[in-house]
């Protein structure tokens, strides 16, 4: 199966199954229009190609071009077979989203966690629960060495002493069991101070700092309990955090909604503040909310991704150079095919644990009793029906994904989005799919332009 597209006069062909990406010339692009899009072993009627295109190109060139295509097909770089994938993973738990605080000190209108408490009580996780959760992770991690724990909320800094105690505990246990436990934290930034910043820099592999963009955008959705905007409170703190962070990974992360469909300006505003790593993502919201995005918004959203793609190059090499999370594509150490088939691993190798010790497939399902997989306090196995339903929700089992060219980049998309939009883990969130396809196209074009630039220099 192949997919071809052009952007900014660069014709690109993707081989969906192998993940190969080729920049081709216009003639190859035209020739491939006559090839069936699915393989393997496409039945190509070369005579028909010659007949159709010989007015536009020379017969000798057409034959030479088709010979190159034959070579790629032979090397399984075009029309490659669908290899057996998703089978090599031994499913063990390797990552936890630890809900260290079901409480928050600010109010965000779009908060999926209902202002931090996930529709339950305002609760902070105690040390015993957190330690038991880390024990659960280690016990269920099999031979996996790299384990991950994200301190999440609500607002994790509201319970920072427990965070620190758990980091100490986790590190000690990891050494005993020959594991590498990596910690990350997601915070709204309001409670950052010199002391906790230093601690985070010394102990957290990554930090995600939330701000939506410029003051108007941010303060429309993210405000204090007294209904005041949070921009002026957050910005200096996260600037200081990033300054102190040095070369360690971080992301400044925002959400865009129907109120700022022109979100490219917000990404660029964050880049202008000196943030190099920026992620601004579409809101996930029930369609009845006034800030929810809809399919009708797609043309405007896509235009914004194009503005960002152009800005990425315009600012490259300047003081406002930035990385946009969704345009990052690692070509040298790209994920293996097994990973691409597995997706996020929610409910299978990634779970979230609430302050009470309840286990859910991921943070987006926390509090939904239908998805409670178990409790760290029970000696029972996890609910196999829930685990199976997530394991089963692979790209191969989703009708909408089966024929989609983007399936091994998004791996079927977010399960929570599918469930919340369609009440069905196997039916992807259509708007999410369309935005993802646009982002992937732009990411590939960015990589193509970089290659073409380097070849010219």
């Amino acid at each position: 199966m192949i997919y071809q597209f052009k952007k900014d006069n660069i014709p690109v062909v993707l081989d969906v199954n192998s993940g190969a990406v080729h920049i081709v010339d216009k003639m190859i692009y035209d020739i491939l229009e006559y090839y069936p899009k699915k393989g393997p072993e496409p039945k190509v009627e070369k005579e028909k190609v010659l007949e159709a295109l010989q007015g536009k190109y020379g017969v000798e060139d057409l034959n030479a071009a088709m010979a190159e295509l034959d070579q790629l097909i032979q090397e399984e770089q075009l029309f490659s077979r669908n290899s057996t994938r998703g089978n090599n993973f031994k499913h063990v738990i390797k990552a936890l989203c630890l809900h260290i605080a079901h409480d928050c000190n600010i109010r965000c209108k779009y908060c999926f966690a209902s202002q931090g408490n996930f529709k339950g009580e305002n609760l902070l996780m105690d040390f015993e629960t957190g330690a038991k959760a880390l024990d659960f992770l280690i016990e269920n991690s099999g031979n996996r060495r790299n384990l991950e724990v994200d301190f999440f909320g609500g607002e994790p800094l509201m319970n920072f002493q427990v965070v620190k105690d758990l980091v100490d505990y986790g590190k000690e246990k990891a050494v005993e069991r020959n594991k590498n436990m990596r910690f990350t934290i997601t915070t709204n930034g309001t409670l950052l101070n010199e002391e906790n910043m230093d601690y985070i820099n010394a102990n957290m592999e990554n930090i995600v700092l939330s701000i939506d963009g410029n003051k108007e955008t941010n303060d429309r959705m993210r405000y204090t309990v007294n209904n005041k905007g949070t921009y002026d409170l957050i910005l200096p703190k996260i600037k200081r955090m990033v300054e102190k962070r040095g070369n360690k990974p971080y992301y400044v992360r925002g959400t865009f909604t129907k109120f700022n469909k022109d979100f490219a300006k917000d990404v660029l505003h964050l880049a202008e503040q000196g943030f190099r790593n920026v992620s601004v993502e579409p809101v996930v919201a029930p369609s009845e909310e006034d800030y929810a995005l809809s399919v009708e918004d797609l043309p405007e959203i896509n235009e914004q991704y194009d503005i960002l793609e152009k800005a990425y190059f315009d600012k490259k090499g300047t003081t406002e150079e930035f990385e946009f999370f969704h345009f990052k594509m690692n070509l040298q150490k790209n994920p293996c095919q097994e990973k691409r088939a597995l997706g996020c691993g929610a409910g299978v190798e990634y779970v979230s644990i609430t302050p009470e010790g309840e286990i859910y497939p991921c943070h987006q399902f926390a509090g939904n009793r239908d998805f409670k997989m178990g409790s760290i306090w029970d000696q029972k196995d996890l609910d196999t029906e829930i685990t199976s339903s997530f394991k089963n929700a692979s790209v191969d089992n989703k009708e909408a994904c089966r024929e989609c060219w983007a399936k091994y980049y998004c791996s079927g998309g977010c399960h929570a989005n599918a469930y919340h939009e369609n009440d069905n883990l196997l039916k992807p969130y259509e708007l999410g799919c369309e935005m993802e396809k646009k982002r992937i196209q732009n990411s590939i074009i960015i990589e193509a332009k970089k290659r073409l630039e380097s070849e010219q220099s």
Binding site: E68, E76, K94, N277, E281, F325, C344, A346
Partner: protein, 48 residues
Amino acid sequence: MTFITTLVRGTTTKEDSITGCGECQTSCQSACKTSCTVGNQDCENPNR
């Protein structure tokens, strides 16, 4: 090749024997908490 520049060489099971070790980061632990993107995640296996 004259007409084609391969930007990313594809991997098939045949070529990519070191696969599925699972030591890489989980996508939702990055800056992505809903808009699942796997294509941009780094492989962490030093032998691959």
